[in-house]
Symmetry: D2
Subunit: 324 residues, 4 copies
Amino acid sequence: MCTAITYHTADHYFGRNLDLDFSYNETVTVTPRNYVFPMRKVDDLSTHYAIIGMSTVAGNYPLYYDAVNEKGLAMAGLNFEGNAYYFDDQEGKKNITSFELIPYILGTCQDLAEAKKELSEISISNEAFSKDFPLSTLHWMIADKTGAIVVESMKDGLHVYDNPVGVMTNNPPFPIMKFALNDYFALSAHHKEHTFGPGVELDEYSRGMGGLGLPGDLSSKSRFIRCVFTKFNSQGESDEVSSVNQFLKILYSVEQVKGLCEVTPGKYEYTIYSSCMNQEKGIYYYTTYENSDIHAIDMHKTDLDSSELSVYPLQRQLQIHLDN
Amino acid sequence: MCTAITYHTADHYFGRNLDLDFSYNETVTVTPRNYVFPMRKVDDLSTHYAIIGMSTVAGNYPLYYDAVNEKGLAMAGLNFEGNAYYFDDQEGKKNITSFELIPYILGTCQDLAEAKKELSEISISNEAFSKDFPLSTLHWMIADKTGAIVVESMKDGLHVYDNPVGVMTNNPPFPIMKFALNDYFALSAHHKEHTFGPGVELDEYSRGMGGLGLPGDLSSKSRFIRCVFTKFNSQGESDEVSSVNQFLKILYSVEQVKGLCEVTPGKYEYTIYSSCMNQEKGIYYYTTYENSDIHAIDMHKTDLDSSELSVYPLQRQLQIHLDN
Amino acid sequence: MCTAITYHTADHYFGRNLDLDFSYNETVTVTPRNYVFPMRKVDDLSTHYAIIGMSTVAGNYPLYYDAVNEKGLAMAGLNFEGNAYYFDDQEGKKNITSFELIPYILGTCQDLAEAKKELSEISISNEAFSKDFPLSTLHWMIADKTGAIVVESMKDGLHVYDNPVGVMTNNPPFPIMKFALNDYFALSAHHKEHTFGPGVELDEYSRGMGGLGLPGDLSSKSRFIRCVFTKFNSQGESDEVSSVNQFLKILYSVEQVKGLCEVTPGKYEYTIYSSCMNQEKGIYYYTTYENSDIHAIDMHKTDLDSSELSVYPLQRQLQIHLDN
Amino acid sequence: MCTAITYHTADHYFGRNLDLDFSYNETVTVTPRNYVFPMRKVDDLSTHYAIIGMSTVAGNYPLYYDAVNEKGLAMAGLNFEGNAYYFDDQEGKKNITSFELIPYILGTCQDLAEAKKELSEISISNEAFSKDFPLSTLHWMIADKTGAIVVESMKDGLHVYDNPVGVMTNNPPFPIMKFALNDYFALSAHHKEHTFGPGVELDEYSRGMGGLGLPGDLSSKSRFIRCVFTKFNSQGESDEVSSVNQFLKILYSVEQVKGLCEVTPGKYEYTIYSSCMNQEKGIYYYTTYENSDIHAIDMHKTDLDSSELSVYPLQRQLQIHLDN
């Protein structure tokens, strides 16, 4: 399915793996401040914070998967099938459709505090974008430099959870997911004592045995646990290139290699793209499954006061560097 | 530690992750046919098959980590600490030092059958290259298009094992390592039946749950199992670029992210480089931890009849591609 | 901590392991119909269904751990530390203390439907029995021949969950516990297909390998999963002796052997006793850690119209049968 | 399959679970010193150490499963299917059939040192007892108060291994089995530090979580690991009754409950009996699957100078102790 993470060195970073069995012509899309976001149930956003992120543009509308605004607030939608539930219009609530939630939050909120306040007034509407784009069953992670939250709209209402680990995948709902980490409290990236039993002499035959028990499969809970372990033990330099590189390595530790997760007979889910946004600088980095070269688009190199989307098609063609 | 794999689509590929806590100025090195390999205990190789591979060149001598010869025979040495044992000179044997084994085998054998024959006459000598380069404790994987073998010199002699899975990591000795795969016989990249118990209704809440139980840590046995699972279920295209890309993704599934495997307090083992050799074409591809761009050196673009090494320093500088 | 199960062959059975690091002078206690149960917040129960179960009798009051009434409704309280929360008296509710809940439910309800109805009107009161018997932090399983429920009083109120597997241990709350079973959907007591990867030949070197992945430790979630697997795959005869024997074997599969679960330095939790009640016949069977002989007390051999408790001290002295 | 263990408190104890899907009319059998053991390939044992153990008596010959001699040397044969290999008669060796090995070793050796010496001269013969009793594929554990060994006759010869943990089950061969323990070096019966990652706060929600990762299924390697963990952490009193009780609890931690290990469709392997021998006192204790009462036979209550077997049929009828 998908994995989203936060990360920080000198700056703050936010990004995700998109794991699917198909691709929707994704583009890196900059929405400048004066692009009018039409809204289905509330007033249109005629001016708003500028946004850069990955989207499918449909009829000049950017259906964002993950994005960051010019204030450094970042957000991603990930699959939450079987648990996500969207509602009929509710009196006294701002009814925001699932596909509008990223534009609405990133367009109107400059930080997590403002996002939480907005969310307390929001109900996620079950209206689809169009017949061609049916409802996606999503939950969301939102982060700024102060932390991260998880937003889950379920049958019993809209839940907003603090996310102290800054990692989100898919099912189950976040409280159960977070609880699952407890079983791994004794894993370590460091040396561990031999405690099996008094008098039993054992041979630690390999480095890394402190991590034994860490799950390695691609199911959502296993990716969550492995990714949290990787993120919290990772060591990296703080310059921009090293930070982006280390960020992507954390995501690659849960990359879905094509063939390992069959969806329907002969169709496989894999990591379509991996993204990394510098939240302070407004730069969107990405790689695709086919192309491990890191590409970057800087929102500040576009006219952020424009009213027209800037669209950058994904570069999927791997360039091998011939050294002779 | 390390992971080596074989892979084939239209061509055959061989390569490895080098996982260490330090780096030795590695270079991609082509040894042409007429470079004289001095040998400590047997006749020098004054003419031999040309070789391309990763090496540390010390005093104009290429200490190969992994390489392929012009006939498509490939070989890699991986850490085997605590089990590797090299011998005093033995009468009636070809006494080959551990650092000479790759040059000797790749220099004189054109395929696995010839390598096996040579190995039946060889004893691994315990002589070190020099005071500055003490003995490495190694075992080796050798492969051509017909298959792969594992070579382990231990106290009870030199063992040569067929390696039906074409994956090798580190400890324990290969028979125990291979046996460990048995415990995972029921894992799957595909849908599995619900068999927990009659009358127990369970919810398969995520894709990929057929892989539950696959180890995700960085110890040598866990990397071996995860890598075999990834390799044997992976699905890729057969053109050159896709093959190299998929090969590297299999290796990345067991990449060691910096910080996750402490060696001594504050020092961490990580994947220094990942290599992929096209055995038919004699091209050496690699990436480094710092630089995910794929670089390539083609042995056939050098003068293979020369007597001088061609040395290509590793490109460790990541180039981000700015799309705006 | 503890494990409770339901089981049925020709009759229905209910019982539990009591796992603690100390013992409170437990006795099998029959409370006849006319014993007056004093109640703290509601009217005393001057006449009620007769009850047999394990209790500590304090000041002629039976503090029941697990019991069954003459109608076949059975109930057990198990540790739920860190999650159990009892309330100040609540208006419009029947305020029942935690130590009164078993007497109240078993004294007034003849089946699960009646118990559920009562529970919908109950709030668990935080009043302790006495200074010598402080509040236990409990949750409860209740069962009749139609099924089982779990009752958990937590900060957000009183939860009543259907328990389709008829097994309960301790933390976490039942919804999370039940969800944890999902990860074991592919385990089996039967032969499983080899699905690791096409072309990988593996050796199923032992019987029982379909169960690989089943947890074997003594933590509450692991005992829950192992016990559900054991119960739902167990095969037994339906006569009384075989049923009791098989019931106890299911409980023994999660028995806590002394020494394996340290509570405080040098103090170990272990299975103090294991009980099995025939719900139709009103017979209470038990074994203790020290004495594997099965003892039985039949409530119908006492005067159920009495007003005095009948108390049977536990037989902890193992009798070895000398055959020569 | 089966599990054998050693254990000591004030005295030394040896015993096993016999796990099969059928039963062969087993009896506790005392072979006195002057019973003549006919031997197929070596001289008959006309006088020898007295032996008590579990056997099937066929034509007045005790086919022992596990036994102890009057000197305290104990031995058990356990299934080793797929690995056991017996030989044609070998020149210069004492050719002992597999069914003669227990009588021969226990009849002629008073301790482990003598047993090892005998084994160095022995080849296990592939001659069957009779058409009705075909060859069992076995390996053996032998123990006295000084330690334990494992004896495995395989295609490459007879192996005798020291067994420092005093536990044996079935496949794989003992070196691989013993190696498997290494992966559990960090499990503990005690509290463990939280080491998952700096800054990740986790909740140790249950006692016993130091044992997480211990396998709970019935395959031979899982039983071995769980049983070693249970034995080496178990805490018990040193009097005879407590010792026998604790010994059996260790065995019960790997008991095979009927229904959990299907052998052929509808046929299940289960723990037919569990035995415990006091090696100093020559007392044979046992329970059966159907009858958890502990029965005992004391070899010293028989005439050990006799030439006739003393046979005690198993008491499989469970006696429930009615307390009212």
